[in-house]
Amino acid sequence: MLKAAVAGAVLVVLLAGCGSSEKSSQPRELVIAVDAPFSSDSYLGTTIENGVRLGSRDTLLTVGGDDYRIRVVRYDNAHSASRAVADVRRAVAQHAAAIVSDGTGIDAAWKIADRAHIPIAIVFDGGTGLVDPAKRPNVFRIAPTDHGVAFRFAEYLIPKKLKVAFLTDDTGYGREGRAALDHAFSQNASSVAARVQVPSTATDLAPQILQARRSGATALLVWGQPSTIAEALIAARSSGWNVPVFAPPSAEDPLLRQELAGHPEWLDGLVFASGRMTAEEGPAPFMAFQSAYEQRFGAQQVGVRSAAGRPVVQPPDYAMYPYDFTHLLVAAIQSAKSTEPAKVLAALNEVSVEGANGDSRGFNRINHEGVVDDDVYFARFQGMTYRPVQDDALSATLPVIPQER
């Protein structure tokens, strides 16, 4: 009797086990948490979220007999590290498959995600210390690094024999940029005329611009928020100083052009560095991506008009990065044949995908940077749109991406 009871119990357990392997009729959810400054930088936050949504659209993953759909959950960090930490805690509690972040608060938040083996993808901030595969195995980045941008500037500017004044703001972005520039120009100190830090809240940078001018600078490199770059241009040009101005990827932000809408000629000639939108195979992959983006979310209107009087749109280049990461995450899950976070995390080091720009995108065990330094190009503004410069080897090979509608 006892044997029969035990045998019956075993049978029940076995049947239950068989039942659990059956495919459920409704797809399960894989959460990708997007933590970005939606309230303080709507353009950036929305671009990141849209990139993830586009990358995960129509994705139906089959893993271990179960179907999964991706659900995007957004958290607003408002550029606040403490809010970012709280957001990451909530994402962990939701068993998120990954967290896509602009980079805010990652220094404090990565450990929380690491304990749950959840990957974090930084898709905007290029700060040098943020990514370290040995110390932060769950942190990845697809965005131009400050290191790469600074070294490309050194490579580009030093041969021009310019005396460069660094103007950096007091935000984390500006401070990280200043450190990267100091490192990149350390072997050519004579190329640096001045190092000036400016408050990001300042509405008049005339004193700092005067300081830079008196240092004998023949070029300005302004590394800061779009508003800082705008204020620097306003101060320089309104004082009649027609000095060449250079800037990091934040110069692409529509905010800069909006602030200079009254004096579009002041923006003309500004050269900024960013990650290239096209690979060697040409503009077709990016154009297809841009078309898909605009069909789904509409064109990103800058809010200014070109020299020809047509509305200017911003190419969704910063949506490429979250889009590519989402594809990498899916490839990692498929490669791992599991949604178990530790396995997915390990697989992220082994997979590659074709990125939105046609380039191969991927990480590896010793490098979690998805944008190599070589991919940083330079573009020059003219009439509120920009095109790659011709006096840099990489940039000269790149096509112009249409920005007028």
Partner: protein, 366 residues
């Protein structure tokens, strides 16, 4: 009747001398860049279902490798570290993977890019604005030592120590057999010597002749070995030998005394021009030609201990064997990522067996 018989005999004699005149068979020669299925080049971990890495580079790549082999006092390899330098000569994007069972990789001096590391090998990606050197120092898993071309063994014999150097390169190729006209062979060899062995296109490998079938041939890659064998208190013994290519595949150096020597040897596979018959050498038969081409092909493989994404680009590898103290391989093996899985499998198996036995005992007592 006498005349026709004489004519047949004459024709038969002519056919023997000039087989191509009698038959229009096409004999396909072994490609001098053919590869056997065994390493080198080394392969990385195979991962089923993974999308292949994109391979893209501008122009031709030049590949130079230095394979540093640490050997213990008995001559057994204890660590293999390769420094590979790939040089791009034209502007353009590059992205590729060099397969390797690598446990560690760092940029070597002079590298103008940073290498990446995956289970499958070393990854490179970037943009070359012109000439660009991609150099990596790669520590390999211990199993890579099985693909080395030279085996060194040191053993004590009475009042002497014998150092034995053996060329262990072995390759097997399936080749066409038969005969071809000497002029065709001469022309083919002349073209190889002039234009190089990597520029051969398939149509150039087709010679007219008389085919008799196929055969499997075994070949070795000739090695030039140079260096010193040193024993404390005595002048080093110079080593300069070619192993195979008409020479023995093994050389033994006997040193008096009981002290184990320190070795510093460099082994290099011979280049194609050193293996191919010279313009004044006798024209080889088809069988000999196929064998020579097999040696060239195998030597070319050993010039790619780590592969180059450009199979037609120039490549040169040198293997440096040096006596080292300690065993770096043991340290590397201790960190092997596969160990954890193996331990887990063994533990699960043991615990499962214990549970089964326990269940059976419990069942018997119910």
């Amino acid at each position: 009747m006498g005349r026709p018989r004489g004519l047949v005999a004459l024709l038969a004699g002519g056919l023997l001398l000039f087989p191509s005149a009698a038959a229009a068979d096409t004999i396909t020669l072994l490609s001098p860049s053919a590869r056997t299925s065994t390493p080198p080049p080394l392969v990385g971990r195979r991962i089923a279902g993974l999308t292949p890495q994109e391979t893209r580079f501008p122009g031709r790549l030049r590949n130079v490798e230095r394979i540093a082999v640490g050997i213990d006092r008995s001559g057994t390899p204890v660590g293999v570290v390769v420094t590979q330098r790939l040089t791009i000569s034209r502007p353009g994007d590059f992205t590729f993977l060099v397969p390797a069972p690598a446990t560690k990789v760092v940029a070597a001096s002079g590298s103008q890019a940073e290498p990446g590391l995956r289970d499958r090998g070393i990854v490179w990606q970037g943009f070359a604005s012109g000439r660009r050197v991609l150099a990596a120092t790669v520590t390999l898993a211990p199993a890579a030592a099985a693909a080395l071309p030279l085996r060194v063994s040191v053993e004590r014999r009475a009042d002497a120590v014998a150092v034995r150097l053996e060329n262990v390169t072995r390759g097997r190729f399936t080749v066409a057999t038969g005969s071809v006209a000497p002029d065709a062979v001469r022309g083919f060899l002349g073209r190889l010597r002039r234009e190089g062995t990597t520029a051969v296109v398939p149509s150039e490998l087709a010679l007219q002749g008389r085919a008799t079938g196929q055969a499997v041939i075994g070949v070795t890659a000739p090695l030039r070995v140079q260096g010193t064998i040193a024993v404390p208190g005595r002048s080093p013994v110079a080593v300069s030998a070619v192993l195979r290519a008409g020479q023995p595949s093994t050389r033994t150096f006997v040193l008096r005394g009981r002290a184990l020597p320190t070795l510093d040897l460099r082994a290099e596979p011979l280049g194609p021009l050193e293996i191919l018959p010279g313009p004044h050498d006798p024209i080889p038969s088809l069988a000999s030609l196929q064998r020579v081409l097999g040696s060239v092909a195998l030597a070319w493989q050993y010039h790619h201990f780590l592969d180059s994404p450009d199979p037609s680009g120039s490549s040169a590898a040198s293997y440096v064997y040096r006596t080292v103290e300690g065993s770096p391989v043991a340290a590397v093996a201790g960190r092997s990522s596969g160990g954890g899985d193996t331990l887990t499998i063994v533990l699960v198996a043991v615990l499962g067996a214990v549970a089964l036995v326990g269940g059976a005992i419990l069942w018997a007592h119910l």
